[in-house]
Each structure stands twice: as C-alpha cells, then as structure tokens.
C-alpha cells in the first residue's frame, strides 16, 4: 500500500497504488478496453480472469488479460481502437 507505480495507457501517463491491476489503471483513462468482433466497445465483466473482456495489448503483446496483471513501472498499455 506504500508506493506508486507509473505506466502509460494509450500514451497517457497514469499513477496507481502499488498492487493495482492493469485493468484498474486503464479505467482511470478510458471506459473502453477492446472492440468485439462486430466492433462494439467492451470492458471488464468478471474481474477475475474468466470472461476475457479485458483483453488488451501490454508492451506490444496482444490479448493480455488486464485484470490478471499487476501494473508495473514503465508498462505501455494500449487498448484496442
């Protein structure tokens, strides 16, 4: 609960309490996480790694579950737009 981590979401700098998930960091920037196959905007549903609605790109790697990954210093997160 002590420190803060700094990362970027769609190029915006974000500061989060240590222990936060990438999903939480993204939510401070945008409600939109991914485009569904028919182009709808989607965002986390389950918060626990089963629904895959929170998929996005982290440090260039696509299809990562944002709710399962702790935010880390220097991470570059990109939602699907």
């Amino acid at each position: 609960m002590s420190g803060l981590v700094r990362l970027t979401v769609n190029g915006c700098a974000v500061e989060m309490p240590d222990g936060s998930s990438v999903a939480a960091a993204v939510a401070t920037v945008t409600p939109h996480f991914r485009r569904s196959v028919r182009g709808e905007s989607r965002a986390p549903l389950c918060g626990m790694g089963v629904c895959f609605e929170c998929r996005l790109r982290i440090d260039g790697v696509a299809h990562q579950r944002a709710c399962m990954i702790p935010a880390r210093n220097g991470m570059q997160v990109q939602t699907d737009d």
Partner: protein
C-alpha cells in the same frame, strides 16, 4: 418393425461434407433423396478439418479429382456460409532440392490447368515476411482457398431439403438390407443407397479396407495480417503420403477471422480422440522451425480428427462390387473437403449411367474387393 417401406431414389447415409455434396447434387437433379445422419450435420471429420481447398499433384488420379472439384468450389466463393477466403497456397522450399521440386510441381499443376508458379526466396519473404530465415523459395498457387466445412455441409443439406430431400436427423443406419437400409429405431427404407459414412465405413461395408488416420490442429487468437497465405512445407507430401506410423508437417492457415490454424499431424493406430501432448509438441516444433513468431501467439484450443484413409490413398467412389443399387463415396483421407464436390458429380454420373467428366476407374471400389 416400425414404419413401412418407403420408396426413395437415393438414400444418403451420412451427412459429412461428402454425403452433403452427394445429397445436394442428387436433389438438384430432381431425385427424391433421403439423408440419414446420427450426429450434427458435418460433425465428423468435416468439423475437424482445416478446410483448405488444395490440389496435390503427386498422384494423377488425385490431382484430376481435386482439379475437377476446385472448379465446382467456385460456385461457393460468394456464399456467406462457406466463409470462402482466397488466400492462395504458398509452398515453402527448404533447401535447393525442394526448390527444384517446386519448379517441377508447378509445371505439373500448370499442365493440369491449375495456375501455379515457382517463387524465389526474395518473393517468398515479400509474400510472408514472418517466415524463418534460410528458406530457398517456393511455389505459389494463387487461386486456392479456405472454407469453413461444417457450415458448407449444413448449407448443402438445407439446399437439398429445399428441393424435397428428407432428413432423418439423430438416426443411424444400423444395417444395409437387401433393398435399402434399416435405421436404429427399426425403420426400413427402400431404394438405391449411397454409403458416405467416412471413418465409420467398415461398420456397414467391412469388405472395403479403411483406417482412421488421426490429426491434430490448434487455433490461435486473432492476429490479423500476420499471415496471408496458407503455408505448407514442400515436404508435406512426404508426411501426407508416407506410410510412417506418425508424421508431422508445417501447415498453417490464416482464417478469415484473423485467427491462425496450425497443422498438421498424421497418426495411424491412435484410436482415442484425446489431444496427445507429444504429437502436439512435435507438430508445433515443426511449425516454429518455419515460423518462429508463432511461439508467442496465444492458442485458444486444440482438437483432433480422423481422416478416412484407404490403402492407396484414393477414395472409394462407385458401385459396391457384387451388390445391386449400393454405392459408396468414402475414404477421402486428408482431402475430402477439397474433393467432395467432384466426388458427388462423378458418383451421380455413375448412378445414372453417364460418362463422368473424369475417368472413374482409379476410384472404383472394385480395385480392392476380391
């Protein structure tokens, strides 16, 4: 005994891609068709397949059937259900000898009327930049395509039904009778009968030898534009046609969804449908050797399927020896999606006593039955 004897022009047993094509072709000619299928339509080998429409040139009879069929597939190139995607086939040469083979093979395909040409290494990497370094070139067959087979089978069965065909869904043919078939609920149907039961052929026609040849496939998440062509190694034919107990080959496909479908593995004497971690590993290592970028992609699912393999690799298409009004269309091994439409035409010509467009002799079931 339940149900009376009804009369039919053609009873099609099995609604995989082969049965579905036959039923559709027969209904289109005005025949009164009845289809019997115990499971989902196209739920057998047809559902497991990659759906690559491809001409293999190493056997003239196989090539003839594939070429004939590919022309008919064009009818479905705009059909939504087919999910037809003309990605072309790019055969990859590893080594000078494979590049030479590419030249010979493209000449053979071209002679048969299929557009194909050898490509040098530079062009190869322009076409598919993610290929591992060190490849020598290859062969491009630009008009080949991929489809989604189970939906095609459904479409064809529905089209046949719209022309009057009857579907006995959830029913299985228990046995062949003197004048037709008997279903598992006791119903008897009379009429000329066509057995298109794929790997289950020996249950009804044990005199026609057939072995299931297991395959594995893996599909990934969506990675649009990573891959543009169906890629195969030129050594694929050695795996496909070799008689080894098990073999793997580099064979990857871009689905229209942006997903990547990865094959291929072949195994005789593997009876259970479980995914074998060992075969999966061999298959994937082979794929990584040609396309290292695959390593990092997310796999969504792996599955298996069984190819109906005859001893000489050619399907049985024609009359069952020694039986009147009994026909067979089965044993298409790893090419049955490609060759189903041509098989259906050929069979209908034989049933009607017409001369087929291609020589039917190589596929005649009489070649094996004593």
């Amino acid at each position: 005994m339940k149900g009376g004897i009804a009369s039919h022009d053609l009873i099609v047993v099995g609604a995989g891609i082969v049965g579905a094509c036959c039923a559709d072709a027969a209904a289109a000619e005005g025949l009164r068709v009845t289809i019997i299928e115990p499971g989902p339509i196209g739920g057998g080998a047809t559902a497991a397949a990659m759906g690559h429409l491809v001409a293999m040139d190493d056997d003239p009879a196989e090539l003839a059937l594939a070429h004939y069929s590919l022309q008919q597939w064009e009818e479905f190139s705009d059909l939504q259900e087919a999910e037809f995607s003309r990605c072309g086939t790019l055969w990859v040469a590893r080594g000078e000898h494979e590049l030479r083979a590419a030249g010979q093979r493209s000449a053979r395909l071209a002679a048969a009327g299929i557009q194909a040409h050898a490509v040098d290494a530079k062009t190869l990497y322009e076409l598919e930049p993610e290929l591992a370094p060190g490849m020598h070139g290859g062969m491009l067959v630009p008009r080949e395509a991929v489809v989604y087979p189970p939906r095609v089978a459904r479409y064809l069965v529905r089209r046949a039904q719209s022309r009057g065909a009857q579907l006995h869904a959830g029913r299985r043919v228990q046995q062949l009778t003197r004048d037709g078939v008997q279903l598992d609920d006791g119903t008897r149907l009379a009429g000329p009968t066509l057995v298109a039961t794929g790997c289950a052929l020996p249950e009804l026609l044990p005199q026609l030898p057939l072995r299931p040849r297991k395959g594995h496939l893996v599909i990934t998440e969506r990675y649009p534009a990573l891959l543009r062509h169906q890629l195969l190694e030129l050594g694929y034919a050695d795996s496909a046609h070799g008689d080894a107990g098990s073999s793997v080959a580099f064979n990857v496909q871009p689905r229209p969804t942006g997903q990547i479908l990865i094959g291929s593995a072949r195994e005789f004497d593997a009876a259970d449908a479980e995914v074998s971690p060992v075969m999966l590993q061999r298959m994937l290592e082979r794929a990584f050797a040609f396309m290292p970028v695959l390593r990092k992609l997310q796999a969504l699912r792996a599955w298996t399927g069984f190819r109906p393999a005859t001893p000489d690799g050619l399907p049985y298409l024609g009359a069952v020896p020694g039986r009147a009004n009994l026909w067979v269309a089965a044993g298409h091994e790893g090419l049955g999606i490609t060759t189903a439409p041509g098989s259906a035409r050929l069979l209908l010509d034989l049933i009607h006593g017409r001369t087929p467009a291609i020589d039917p002799a190589p596929y005649a079931p009489s070649r094996v039955a004593a």
